[in-house]
Structures are given as C-alpha cells and as structure tokens.
Symmetry: C2
Subunit: 213 residues, 2 copies
DNA sequence: CACCTATCTGAACGGTGTCAACATGATCTT
DNA sequence: AAGATCATGTTGACACCGTTCAGATAGGTG
C-alpha cells in the first residue's frame, strides 16, 4: 500500500487485527450467542486464519478479556449518561440502577462475559480503579443522594451493597422473566423501579434508616 | 458377578449410571473447575466409555441440568437449616442470606452452573414452585420478619428484591474478594452481615421504611 | 430355550484451542 | 538502493471435545 488511495485498502498485513478481532467477537456474541464464540469463528469472521489471533492475544481468554473490557467501558458510559440525565441528584442512583439493568438486558451475552468468573478476576477490579468507572460513579451518586462522605467505610459498604443488588437484579432478569408481575405493575420499567425501591440503600430514606452507631 | 455376594458388585451393566455420572460430574466440578467438566471426562471418571452417558441423558446439557438440580436441592437444605437455627424469627432472613452466600463461596463452580443462563431457564423457576424451595422459604421468612402477607404484590417484590440482592452479593463475592474491607471489619462474616444490613429489605426497620401507600 | 430390550463399547465425524514451521512484507540499517 | 530484521500472516498438525452409529453384551420375558 504505497498511497492512501481509495476506501478499503489493506494498509498492512491486515490493518489492525486486534481491534478487528474484538469487533468480530462482539458481533458473533450478539448475533449467535456465547456458545458460538469460538476463536476459530472469530478468526473466520475477521477473514483471517485460525492461528492469526495468537500474534495479538496469547490466549482465547485474553481476547475475551478485551471484549469484556469494552463492555465495562460501554456500561460506564451508560451509567454516566443516566447520572447526567437524572432530574434531581437524589434520583441519580435509581436511574443508574435502571440504566444498568437495561444494559444487561440489551447485551445479555456480553454482560455474562463481563462477569465470567472462570477467567481471571483482574478485569473488573482493575477497571473499578479508573476515574470514571461505574463503581466510583455509583459512589458519587450515593453521596449526592445524602450518604455521608466522611464515613469511608460505610460509604464503601453502601456502594458495594448497591452494586451487588443491581447486579443481582440484572442477572436475575436475564434468568427469569417475571412476566406476570411485570404485567401487573404496568410494564418493564415500573417493575424495575419497584424492585429498586425495595433495596433500602437506593433511597435517602433507606440510607437514613440504616445509619446505626 | 453372578451372585450379590460382597459389597461393590456391579448388579447390572453398571448399577445405576445416571447417579454415578452426576456424582462424577460434581466431583470433577469441585476438584478441577468448570473448564475441566467435559462429558468425556465425566465418563472417564465414572469408568465408562464416552458414549455411555447418552443412554441416560440426551445431551451434555441434560447432565448439567441434573447436576444443577442437585445444587438447588442442597441450597434449599442450607436455607432450611439457617431458618431453623435462627435465634429469633426476625433474624431468619439475615441468617438465610449468610447461609446463601456461604453456599456460593463453598461451591463456586456449582453455583455458577446453577445460574448458567446459557442453558434452558426451566431449571430454576420450576424448582422455585416446589413446596420447600429456597424462594418460598425466603418469602415465609420475610413474613415472619414483619412483611405484610396480605399484600401479595408487595410481598413478591420484597422476595424478589431479597433474592436478587443476596444473589448479587454471592456472585460478587466470588468475583472480587474485598479483602481489605473484610479485614477492616474483622473477618468474612462481619463483612457479610454489614452488607446485608445495607439491604433495606433484610431488616424490619428497612421493611417499615419502604411501606409507601 | 429363543427372543427382546436396555445398556455399554468402538470407531468415526466435524469442530475446537493451541503450537511449530514456514511465508510475507513493512521497517531499519548501511 | 540493497539487504537484514522483525512483526504479522498461513499451513498443517496434535490432542481433545460433543455426538452418532453399528455392533457387542447381558438382563428380563415368552
């Protein structure tokens, strides 16, 4: 490729395969589910030989971790949007919860992959330490909702509890559909908010009622 | 082996393979993890040819479902024990939560298998309809803790919320270890109870504070 | 006894993750 | 400009996997 002439030239051997592979994996994941996500299928989808990925990822696991990482970024984005769009600061935590579960519902296979405990646990904690991670956003939203920011221990407990509760709801929603209850409550979002209301830490009232010593 | 003489005779072709296979699968799961759980490995462990399982399970999936079913039964047992041993009725929900998370910690691979959303969703909901299922036990414990049993809709929401929260905590605990926080709080169980205290629905106070209309 | 059916084995198929050997071509050095 | 170098790609192979099918084996039934 001498000149950057027309549209789709292959500038290098491939271009940048790493990204192409991750994209291909994500495409397969959405279209055909986790069962169809083989390394060879990813290579096929990217138009490359089965051994090619090994020059960019030492393992199938490492590729999946890259895919999962992209998922965490997308989820953080969703959470940030929900936080920005919240009518009042104290609504933010609930809105984050809704956005979180919606993300899990819209990308069930990707969400499962993100939490796949078979792989190394490094992916999520590492991501949690970043500036605008979902975790720290939840923490800030809790403070905005009235959580005491000086009691670090309690704040961390509240953040973990919130995250666990919403994660549990998200996984549960993918596992069981609760359709009759949803209908009785008037739809998906109503059900969601009703459940969130039952998690104490998600309302200032709940927060207050749990302040002990 | 013509006569039913001594201890381990093989009365039929094998005895009863279905159970032996499920046991073998459970053994592999605990010893080597989910990655090593191949149908062939299970057959090997049971001392039988790779094709033998197909006379008892139509699929690898069907075997895994049997294993998962056993897991649900064991979990129900744990919950029942926690409920019986609770000092006061209103402590039962919290104690159930502790027992639940402990079960998930002690059998991480089995727990993952039980919630594997790749398989058919029939396993868990079906089990939830049984008499002494974990789900209905949680519901009863909530009533004992002061939840209004006449408001069926609210009761179901509370049960789901409780289950989601504890499931989330269990999965999260297997995903991330929270060691520094655990140390600061004085151990595993202290951490666990601290988190549970932050789920509003798990304390009568939390229950009361969420009663709206 | 002969027949039937359930259970198990052996061999085979296509698919998978992974690796070593080889090919290719962009970049660096001279 | 020419040749060396190194990252990137391909081919072919290996062991293992889930699954199937034809045949062996043995219990139950007439």
């Amino acid at each position: 490729m001498r000149e950057t002439g027309s549209a789709h030239v292959k500038p290098y051997h491939h271009g940048d395969l790493s990204r192409a592979l991750v994209d291909a994996a994500r495409r397969i994941l959405e279209a055909e589910g986790a069962a169809a996500l083989s390394l060879r299928a990813v290579a096929r989808e990217a138009g490359v030989s089965p051994a090619a990925p090994y020059h960019h990822f030492k393992d199938k696991t490492e590729l999946l971790e890259a895919v999962a990482h992209g998922g965490w970024e997308a989820l953080s984005e969703m959470i940030a949007q929900a936080r920005i769009n919240a009518a009042r600061p104290q609504d933010a935590i609930t809105d984050i919860g809704v956005a979180y579960v919606n993300f899990a519902r819209d990308n069930p296979a990707l969400y499962d992959l993100m939490y796949d405990t078979t792989r190394d646990r490094t992916a999520m904690p590492q991501h949690a330490q970043e500036e605008d991670s979902g975790y720290s956003q939840v923490q800030n939203a809790l403070i905005a909702a009235g959580c005491d920011p000086t009691d670090e221990q309690d704040l961390e407990l509240a953040t973990i509890a919130s995250w666990c509760a919403v994660h549990g709801l998200a996984e549960m929603s993918n596992f069981k559909d609760f359709q009759p209850l949803k209908d009785a409550l008037g739809g998906d979002e109503a059900f969601l908010r009703a459940i969130l209301r039952h998690f104490g830490t998600f309302s200032p009232a709940g927060l207050a009622s749990h302040r002990k010593h």
